[in-house]
């Protein structure tokens, strides 16, 4: 027995990063299992490929980072290998890329070609995470980076309509996903898919982000275990609901056939809003560090999502809006104004973040002619 001197504090909390990551994996599990059941082959291929690529890249990166320095002597491969890896691999080197890989799997469309999956996973882990310095240093969400890259490069080759036992593509839909219809300006088509089908995931779309029930189970689990910050989820969904309601009311002013609450529910249940809010925005690494900034971050993401959905050429904006919010997070964390206290300036900023986009949405829809129908 020896007496060791160490600096205070001498106690530590039980919670660890590994536990938080395991929680996210557990929360993702129902959705992943459900997508296995619905699309066995597509999910299995995408899942295995992305997990293999992402964990493999992470391990290669660890090896490169801890490479043996040149000292003029010859070392066998085994010695070099042991030098690079021994004692430097922690559970987080498997859990973190596994989470990214599963999220990437679940947000890829069911009919994405294999090369899109491979390229997306590689680009996501390397340019979304490893170039910044690995765990804890990345600015962007790796899964979102990979998904957006694959979509921009190979989006035209996606087959969005894959029929399974759970869901058969109806004739009327042969042409667009729920959001594709609305983005095309045909508002009457929001009756093509019933809200119940959208809630259950019986619509064309991504492998996992369409199953709202399992996502909500994951969300509740994460919030109970406090492995996700509720502030981000609440501010994102709250702002999203508010802005979509403003949009719905504006549309109702033009065309009284459209029920604004149906419009709201349609937007909330389509695309990746719930999935993004649960698993991607709440990633602590890419969100700001203090609570007021986290609220602003969620609001920025919501505004970006709504604007991309309603006004941009793309039907779905969650992936892009998460990347935009990730960039804003870095700005919010700048030391000149980063402060964990709520000040009137921050409340003013939050108010403006609601008022200005609402006004823009209203004007654009009511006078700008975004929807002609």
């Amino acid at each position: 027995m020896t007496i060791i001197k160490e600096n205070a504090p001498h106690l530590r909390r039980k919670a660890t990063v590994t536990r938080m990551m395991a929680d996210v994996l557990i929360a993702l599990a129902p959705t992943l299992v459900f997508s296995f059941v619905v699309y066995p082959l597509n999910t299995l291929i995408t899942y295995l490929l992305s997990v293999f690529i992402m964990i493999g890249s992470e391990l290669v990166y660890v090896g490169l980072r801890n490479m043996m320095p040149k000292d003029g002597q010859k070392h066998s491969f085994k010695e070099r290998f042991l030098y690079a890896y021994k004692g430097k691999i922690t559970p987080n080197h498997f859990l973190a890329p596994a989470i990214s890989a599963i999220i990437f799997t679940l947000i890829m469309p069911a009919g994405a070609p294999i090369y899109a999956v491979i390229m997306g996973a590689l680009f996501g882990i390397i340019f979304g995470k490893l170039v910044f310095g690995g765990l804890g240093s990345n600015i962007f969400n790796p899964a979102a980076v990979g998904m957006v890259f694959a979509k921009l490069c190979f989006g035209s080759q996606y087959n969005l309509f894959v029929s399974t036992w759970y869901y058969t593509v109806p004739d009327v839909a042969a042409g667009a996903t729920p959001l594709g219809w609305v983005n095309g300006g045909e508002l009457a088509s929001i009756n093509n898919y019933s809200l119940l089908d959208m809630f259950l995931g019986r619509i064309p779309g991504a492998l996992g982000e369409v199953y709202k029930i399992t996502i909500l189970i994951g969300l509740v689990y994460l919030l109970i275990r406090r492995s996700a910050d509720f502030r981000i989820v609440v501010s994102y969904l709250g702002t999203f609901i508010l802005l979509t309601l403003v949009a719905g009311l504006s549309v109702y002013g033009l065309n009284s056939d459209v029920n604004p609450f149906h419009f709201l529910a349609y937007h909330l249940l389509s695309g990746g809003v719930l999935f993004g809010a649960t698993f991607m925005l709440t990633d602590p690494v890419t969100s700001p560090i203090n609570s007021p900034s986290r609220i602003i971050y969620g609001m920025v993401a919501a505004v970006a999502t709504v604007f991309i959905r309603l006004f941009a050429a793309l039907p779905e904006g969650v992936g892009f809006s998460i990347l935009i919010a990730n960039m804003v997070a870095v700005v919010l964390d700048h030391y000149e104004w980063s402060n964990p206290r709520y000040t009137w300036k921050k409340f003013l900023g939050m108010g403006l973040l609601i008022v200005i986009p609402s006004l823009v949405t209203f004007l654009a829809i009511f006078y700008g002619g975004v929807y002609n129908g």
Partner: protein, 433 residues
């Protein structure tokens, strides 16, 4: 887990209800010649000379004040030895051989209640200064300096919260000497001519609450109340205590006396009682020896100057002797760790905590924000840590690390097990340059 940490498992059930064992007559007693505030000293006695209990044997000299050193037993001055002081530094100690007679110095005299009632604030301040009374909660700030304020005081708060885990020394003191606490408080109220006082304890300490509800009945009309405050850490920090007891939020660096409030630790209260009533310095105190590394954790009432080495066998020695240990003086969140068990109980040692050394694997920070949420002074420890890593002085200053009270919650709550508090300490040093 992304959440504000307020509750630390306080482990006080190890010793909280055990009576304090009297161990007041060791063979040798040691008195520190220097401490963190006073780095020079003078000695008035020669080797082999006989000293009386409570006799002034020397003086510590610091840049702002001087502190008399009192012998805590009667006996012979043997020499000067080096031992570990509570701040973790090797320090010179006066060694006195106890003659077990306890012959008191002529300075020590009992004041009658009439004499005490006539004392003015200046006289009480002088008595406390001569008795070298310091803040016994651990701050070791001279108490008489607090008495020298000329601001009107309308409320005295007694801090019996003891929010650090493991320690139960103040707990036992409050249970065993309630009348000394109350009398000391009465003298302080007399000094400040103050009509109200509150004894603050954690609301979960039902045993102390019962005792004081009874005792306060005897002091009817004195304006002393019992105040139950929160059960969280760092409730014992004066700003948090004043916030919960009085509803006043102090600004950074503002003294409580600015708001008409004066706060003292309960042990200091008993010290004031002894000083005013018997003109006697602190010669005995309660300490707790506890922790995972001790076989039978216990409370003690010991003479100031006792060596811990004598007390450890009374606790059954170390548990799991094959494991490495950490030896902490004070609480496990803020206390100093010492590299050796050769420690002397000084006036301000409240506890000795022996923990099994835990090896935590440090992971990269995932920016979960637990430290920011937990920080009681609303700093951003992780940002300060990143600024220290880049040695960006301007950024460090802007993040204001000097507000930090080193409560240790950032490192405690860190999910990556990073020693964040260490980085903040470095930042404080850089910011002071």
């Amino acid at each position: 887990m992304i959440a504000k940490t307020r509750h630390i498992s306080d482990t006080k059930n190890l010793t909280g209800s055990l009576p304090a064992i009297r161990y007041v007559d060791p063979k040798f007693l040691y008195l520190p010649l220097t401490n963190a505030r006073c780095t020079k000293y003078e000695i008035y006695i020669k080797e082999g000379e006989h000293v009386n209990c409570c006799q002034m044997v020397g003086k510590r000299i610091g840049p702002f004040f001087e502190q008399p050193i009192h012998a805590t037993c009667s006996g012979t001055f043997v020499g000067i030895e080096k031992h570990y002081h509570r701040n973790g530094k090797l320090t010179d100690f006066i060694k006195i051989e106890n003659d077990f007679k306890d012959t008191f110095d002529p300075e020590v005299k009992t004041r009658t209640p009439d004499e005490i009632a006539k004392l003015t604030k200046e006289e009480i301040t002088e008595i406390i200064k001569n008795c070298a009374l310091v803040g016994l909660g651990g701050s070791s700030f001279p108490t008489y300096v607090k008495f020298q304020t000329d601001k009107p005081i309308h409320m005295i708060l007694v801090n019996g919260i003891e929010c650090e885990p493991y320690i139960t020394a103040d707990h036992r003191l409050m249970l065993e000497f309630p009348y000394r606490v109350m009398d000391g408080l009465k003298y302080v109220m007399q000094a400040f001519n103050c009509k109200h006082a509150k004894i603050c304890i954690k609301s979960k300490y039902k045993d102390i609450e019962t005792v004081y509800r009874q005792v306060i009945k005897e002091y009817e009309g004195s304006g002393i109340e019992l105040c139950l405050v929160g059960n969280y850490y760092p409730q014992g920090w004066e700003v948090e205590m004043i916030k919960n007891a009085e509803g006043i939020q102090l600004n950074t660096g503002e003294l409580p006396s600015n708001q008409g409030i004066m706060n003292f630790n309960v042990s200091t209260m008993v010290g004031i009682y002894k000083a005013v009533k018997y003109n006697m310095p602190v010669i005995k105190r309660f300490i707790t020896i506890t922790g995972d590394g001790i076989k039978f954790p216990k409370n003690f009432r010991v003479r100031v100057g006792t060596s811990i080495k004598e007390l450890l066998p009374l606790c059954g020695g170390y548990k799991n002797p094959e494991k490495d240990k950490v030896f902490i003086l004070g609480g496990p969140m803020m206390g100093a760790s010492v590299p050796n068990d050769d420690i002397i109980v000084s006036k301000t040692v409240t506890s000795i905590i022996v923990l099994d050394k835990m090896d935590y694997v440090e992971e990269p920070c995932v920016r979960c924000g637990s430290c920011v949420l937990s920080c009681p002074v609303h700093l951003e420890p992780v940002q300060i840590m990143n600024a220290v890593k880049t040695l960006d002085k301007e950024r460090i200053k802007k993040l204001n690390p000097l507000k930090c009270i080193e409560c240790g919650l950032c490192a405690y709550s860190c999910t990556s097990k990073i020693q964040v508090t260490d980085y903040i300490r470095k930042a404080k040093m850089i910011a002071k340059l």
